[in-house]
Symmetry: D2
Subunit: 295 residues, 4 copies
Amino acid sequence: MKTKIGFIGLGNLGTPIARNFIEAGYHLQVYNRTVEKTKELDQDNITVCHSPAEAANGVQFIVTVLSNDTVVTQTTTGEEGILKTLPKGAIHISMSTIAPDTAKHLSQLHEQAGSRYLTSPVFGRPDAAAAKKLWVCLSGAQEIQEAARPLLESTSQGIFNFGEEAGQANVVKLAGNFMIQASMEMMAEAYTLTEKFGIERTAVADFFGSTIFNAPIFKNYGKLIAEHKYEPVGFTSQLGYKDASLVAKLSQESQTPMPLVALIQNRLLTALAKGRSERDWAEAFGKGVSNDAGL
Amino acid sequence: MKTKIGFIGLGNLGTPIARNFIEAGYHLQVYNRTVEKTKELDQDNITVCHSPAEAANGVQFIVTVLSNDTVVTQTTTGEEGILKTLPKGAIHISMSTIAPDTAKHLSQLHEQAGSRYLTSPVFGRPDAAAAKKLWVCLSGAQEIQEAARPLLESTSQGIFNFGEEAGQANVVKLAGNFMIQASMEMMAEAYTLTEKFGIERTAVADFFGSTIFNAPIFKNYGKLIAEHKYEPVGFTSQLGYKDASLVAKLSQESQTPMPLVALIQNRLLTALAKGRSERDWAEAFGKGVSNDAGL
Amino acid sequence: MKTKIGFIGLGNLGTPIARNFIEAGYHLQVYNRTVEKTKELDQDNITVCHSPAEAANGVQFIVTVLSNDTVVTQTTTGEEGILKTLPKGAIHISMSTIAPDTAKHLSQLHEQAGSRYLTSPVFGRPDAAAAKKLWVCLSGAQEIQEAARPLLESTSQGIFNFGEEAGQANVVKLAGNFMIQASMEMMAEAYTLTEKFGIERTAVADFFGSTIFNAPIFKNYGKLIAEHKYEPVGFTSQLGYKDASLVAKLSQESQTPMPLVALIQNRLLTALAKGRSERDWAEAFGKGVSNDAGL
Amino acid sequence: MKTKIGFIGLGNLGTPIARNFIEAGYHLQVYNRTVEKTKELDQDNITVCHSPAEAANGVQFIVTVLSNDTVVTQTTTGEEGILKTLPKGAIHISMSTIAPDTAKHLSQLHEQAGSRYLTSPVFGRPDAAAAKKLWVCLSGAQEIQEAARPLLESTSQGIFNFGEEAGQANVVKLAGNFMIQASMEMMAEAYTLTEKFGIERTAVADFFGSTIFNAPIFKNYGKLIAEHKYEPVGFTSQLGYKDASLVAKLSQESQTPMPLVALIQNRLLTALAKGRSERDWAEAFGKGVSNDAGL
């Protein structure tokens, strides 16, 4: 008989992760705010639930893939939240990008309830998730990291340990999102400069993306920015701005002056002020730099 | 009988390139300011020359790997410069990182003299040169790009064409150096932030360098910055500052506002002001950010 | 018989203001957290109170000069807060530098209680207060502005109306503090530049402060920064940083990219990170710029 | 009989200065590139000259009020330049805003020729010149400062000594222009912020310009920026950009990191890139900030 796990959050990233778990042999107690999304999963291997509490009932693992701090907190602590039913000793694997303080808070609540909280944000876009190629950052007690590892391996190509404190993997995740944004600013400036000298943006992007900057960030975003191709929208400027603001907050709390974060925040804020909050975040950088250059 | 080519500039990068050419079957007419450096090459396959003009005498290709605009110009146009002897139709392959305007100027002088100028700056450190793994950026007339290709292939893993104008490959090279500096700033800020939250700098650098930022720049400089290991000096802050200033100049000439360049210039200028101009440029970023954060 | 008013907050600024009111013929019901401070006032014209509620009892005006949002809110809404006793129709004149949202919130609470809230932050240091030379920024309903005017005139040289909404005068006050900080950054950069060229910092500061920049900000802070004289501490970097952060928050809420605010925030954050949070804010700018310049 | 002096440069600033000298009782040997401009002066008290050399012939003082380094240098050293005729011991009073290195160079040439060079840039717009209210910054040997003082007093309200070296008064002048530009950035940010909160820009500008920032810079430019009134053009963004670039160059030469200069340069460069180089420099700041804020 299959192992049952709870699963909450069938967004762009959550759905392929859920499919990977099913494929790995788990039976999922699934909850999603809009129930239609559950139809995209193999019906034989899921039980559709009507609350987080129902999804968490009787399982050893409950996975959440949600959009922000408020939703994760509400899903965990609400009237029909995870904490109402999650068995003692069970583990909440939280994959969302949230503030470290939120993670610490949730971790304490789990501890008080006799359950455990494992911070496990991931890097990778939906297609990487579908290909089981996510990168997972963990923080939490060593034994719960070990316990969760087999499950996480079924959706990722690598799992990294960033310590025992609940918030630490969140800091790494936010630092990574900052680095992605900084890379977009850098590429936008470099490609606009070369364009002004009569060199094709795409030739420059192809060159760097296949040589000294041959990493996914530069290949993928490099192409979007070089071609000014910002549709379909993968991640909005609004969300990018929230992440940048979270990083700015960490910078302030920890007294780490980060002038590049300030530059990024203002780049995104300009996009928001111009009514482009629902456009792709790459546009905020790509069009922002070109616009300042009179292009 | 072996084909003779001219070769000028036995610095850290020039020497392994010269060896690659010898290994590929060429005989080198070598000139270097300090003649001792020629002893590091296989004596059977070189002729030691006492001026650029002597090195350029009678060859179809003369390669220069020099440190800055002034030296390249002097070597080409001086009393005993390349232009005095280089045969009509022969090609000057110029690998130095210089301003596009200097390249244009040299190209015109060659044209007037009946010879040709091929802009061909390279990306890669000395060890990459030794392994024949440089990346070459070319700009110049199509036919001279084709003519030089076999020679350049013997020292590189890829050759890229950026157009017919002499200055264009220089712009790409400078844009790339800017991207490397921006990457160092980004890493220094990210690793210092995570350090403040109790996460090992090296764990963070390893993670990003082996996942979404798995490109040489992030692996190599990431390690130096994470470990605050700035010796031996690979490239000085003084030289990095000159490059950043060249990029700032291009930004101004072409009316491309590049706020990230300004940030980088001030980071390096601070290092210079504090007497660290001869230290590794990675230190300017790594120590600069840590210092501002009170570490 | 003298008119009674309430007065809360005998800090550096509050004490001289209280004295001005006494001199103008008012009797003060005074509350201060540390009761000793009340001894600095003319005992014949004050009644020492033991809670905000006691100070607000039976008066038409209650003036608060407090350090931050939390204290003002607590003083107004606490168990023994102003709202417990302030008569219907009476006016709370709030002189503190706080966020506009806090002012709006307090204004609504007063309205519900039948009393009124008048936002009235001031510009000027303690000596200006002692000389009755403060500048007052008002926002609130026209009639309460008029009602409070005679009282405010007894401590100021000018009163300015910024509209009917409770938060607006706070925005002006914060914008002004931003302009003061920006002026300090500007002076620190200019005087350090001229110093590097062998010109006396004080000669430059005197020149600008007595010619095209002959305003108090440039005279006063210009002297401190030119002489690197940061004692006694007038206003701490910690408090300056809080103000800058409030401005940054307004910038974000209102989608107004303000790159100069970001620069200021990082300048102050560097001072905090280096353990200088209790030093004068002028030092954060003056020493910060000099330090980056290797001086 | 009236004392004769030479005068070169009848621009917006030069013309009222020339009138002041005439009014003070001097007879002017005037040279201007377009001779028509000489008709604006009292014909009884001038001699129209056809070259700088002619204007400098036989005088003890030759005053130049020219637009940039190239023109000043050409006027001094050209075929028919000042140095050809200026008597030994005579003084060249140079009021232009130029680089300190240019001033040093010209000073040396004068010394070799037996004449003297006095650096004397001024602050003030044409109406201030007409009202004899310029501020003069001097550098040069003490005795020539003293000798020139009576003449300079006839057009100014104050004269300041910045040392014996030829370049020093230029550094102060450029630092002042930087401070003016920084003030415009600061005001544009502050007024746009307050505007977003529903407060009239002009009310805010009036308040600051008449209280803690009651200096000409804030009154005059504050009004222009608050009202977005950028015509007629007083000083172009193109010229402002050149000044900012000169300051950036001084910053680099002297190893003084000045992040605020970088911000200003990019603000002006954006205006240039958008085709607004001939518009008033206040627009670059005022419209630039508003545009980024989506207004």
